[in-house]
Amino acid sequence: MTTLLYSDPELVIALNKKVIFVNPNDLQIFKEIELPEDLYALGLKASNNLTEPSELAAEKSEEKCEQSKVSKKLKHVKIEPPSILHVKLSPDNRLCAVTTSGQKAVLLYQCRPEQAKLVSVRPLARASSVITFSPDSKVLLVTDKSGDCYKYDCENDEEEPQLLFGHFSIVYDLVWTPDSKYIVTCDRDDKIRVTNYPATHDIHGYCLGHQEFVSALAFLDEDTIISVSGDKTLRLWDFKNGRELTMLELPAPGLRLCLRATGENKLEAAVLLYQPDECIALYELTKSDTSKWLVKERQILRIPGVIVNSICFINKNLYASGIVDEHFTLRVFNVDGCESKVSGDWIKVIEEQFKTEVWKPEDVSAWFKKRFDNVSDYLERKKRRIEEKQK
């Protein structure tokens, strides 16, 4: 997986084992993080005990057995090096969080004032699906493939991760209201959920209406969120009241979303689509005098031959990272949606950084629900049985 994100003044790009921090204007690499080969040597504990803290005594002893088995296994098997799943910078830009597969862990790096310095290595129960810092940068939330959401304290590195809440399918996005009162999550079961914070046991409500996975969320203002989904729609919600405000058809299923302000009460949204070539749609969002958001389709960007995986705005430009022939590529579009030529040289320098990394795209088709019919067969047999009886 790659991550592409912008946190003024740095563009952050991550793939496999390396994270680089780049100045998007002159291409200078500020710093980089190379993942350590052996996280167990840095104190990572086997992570299979990351369930609820309230287990019965019997289970605990069972777990100890499992753990000793795991550690025995580790001695004999060559340790698989960790690989990056997700990267995020804290809102105050002081911390960089990295989740890894292979050796499943949550790493925290201190980015300021010095070069990136690894400050904590904590276990990760299952592969992460989203990571998000709290607005005050004090807490990192990590959701995993099974839908659980764990809290990692960023001030006390020693503190065990804590299970906050759970969905019943993978969580694709998690956003935190700027006032920290709500966490909004979306999952593969078509749901957007609004959870109170810090009372995360208390569900505030749901925004229901999507009919496939909900892949990405963002705030338009303090009461409104935008969502995109595999059902080929983009929707706006009054999320505190669970009310759908607007719906717009997308040309294809939506996978990711990013926003930039283009003026007062005016935003531009880029939606990454699940279709070849014409894979980014741009929308203009305008807030009217009556506080109603209007959505207008602006244009579709063509990126032939590239499987785009990540998008982000930097000032007026849209950056897209993706895969060509199993290798990393970066594309930049200017405000008119034209591919920016000027940056060609420095993009090569960035691509050079990841030249040796082989990268296979994620199979997004697995996000869609598999409909298998276990009903009509039964009904057919029942019908025959009843007909038999009537004869």
Binding site: E52, F168, L208
Partner: protein
């Protein structure tokens, strides 16, 4: 749906047997409403009035024995049985149809819905809609790896608290002591529930019915097994 022809008799269970376990995490062939607004409750309750809504939910209602009792006990309130297994839920639907035919004007307040209660409760019920939820003889999912499949766990308890009104009750019953301990431990740890006192549990008019009306329960009584009851209040 295929119907037993003009059911003068109740459906026979032997045609509807199905193994006791179901994977609640997997995708299934379910039609579920995107929003509670989209449910046509008239299909379930022919005499429903506009100001009436479902208040009781029997989660994993099995063959519907308790659901029928509940309908008899509270003729003015609507109860729904949720069951994930195709044949078993179909049995309950046929059973209710037959009961309605056999007893004109009765049993119009109970219905059965085939769905996955772990995933789709908020698709059917609004916040604070339900007054009582029942978890009777749930699948114990003994293996540790399958504990996430248990119908009572930390994450699901928050979902149940969402659909339950304040003061609403959760009834749990099992013949597996370990599961009972698990349920009590998780419910007591969750900030939105408190357990009723022994006295309150004993005097609840539903309590005696819990021991006798579910088929699984009857079986356990026959086997002289122990039952473990616990009732909790949504705070």
């Amino acid at each position: 749906m295929v119907q037993e022809p003009c059911s003068i008799s109740l459906p026979q269970k032997r045609y509807y047997r199905q193994r006791a376990h179901s994977n609640p995490i997997a995708d299934h062939c379910f039609d579920y409403p995107a929003h509670p607004d989209n449910v046509n409750w008239q299909e379930f309750y022919p005499n429903i009035t506009p100001d009436q809504h479902v208040e009781f939910a029997d989660i994993g209602c099995g063959y519907g024995g308790f659901l029928v009792t509940l309908g008899e006990m509270f003729p003015d309130r609507l109860a729904i049985g949720l069951e994930i297994r195709v044949k078993v839920s179909d049995y309950v639907m046929d059973r209710i149809k037959a009961l309605r035919t056999l007893h004109q004007g009765k049993y119009n307040n109970i219905a059965c819905l085939r769905t996955n209660a772990m995933k789709y409760l908020p698709n059917y019920f609004r916040k604070a809609q339900l007054d009582k939820m029942f978890f009777l003889y749930p699948d114990p999912h003994f293996k540790r790896a399958k504990h996430k499949w248990r119908i009572i766990n930390q994450a699901l308890l928050s979902e149940y608290a969402y659909v339950l009104r304040k003061g609403g009750l959760v009834y749990t019953m099992t013949d597996v002591e370990d599961l009972h301990n698990w349920i009590v431990q998780h419910m007591e740890k969750h900030p939105l529930y408190e357990r009723l006192t022994d006295e309150e549990e004993k005097t609840d008019p539903i309590t005696p019915k819990l021991y006798h009306s579910s088929e699984e329960g009857t079986k356990v009584v026959r086997n002289k097994g122990d039952h473990f009851l616990a009732i909790f209040r949504r705070i």
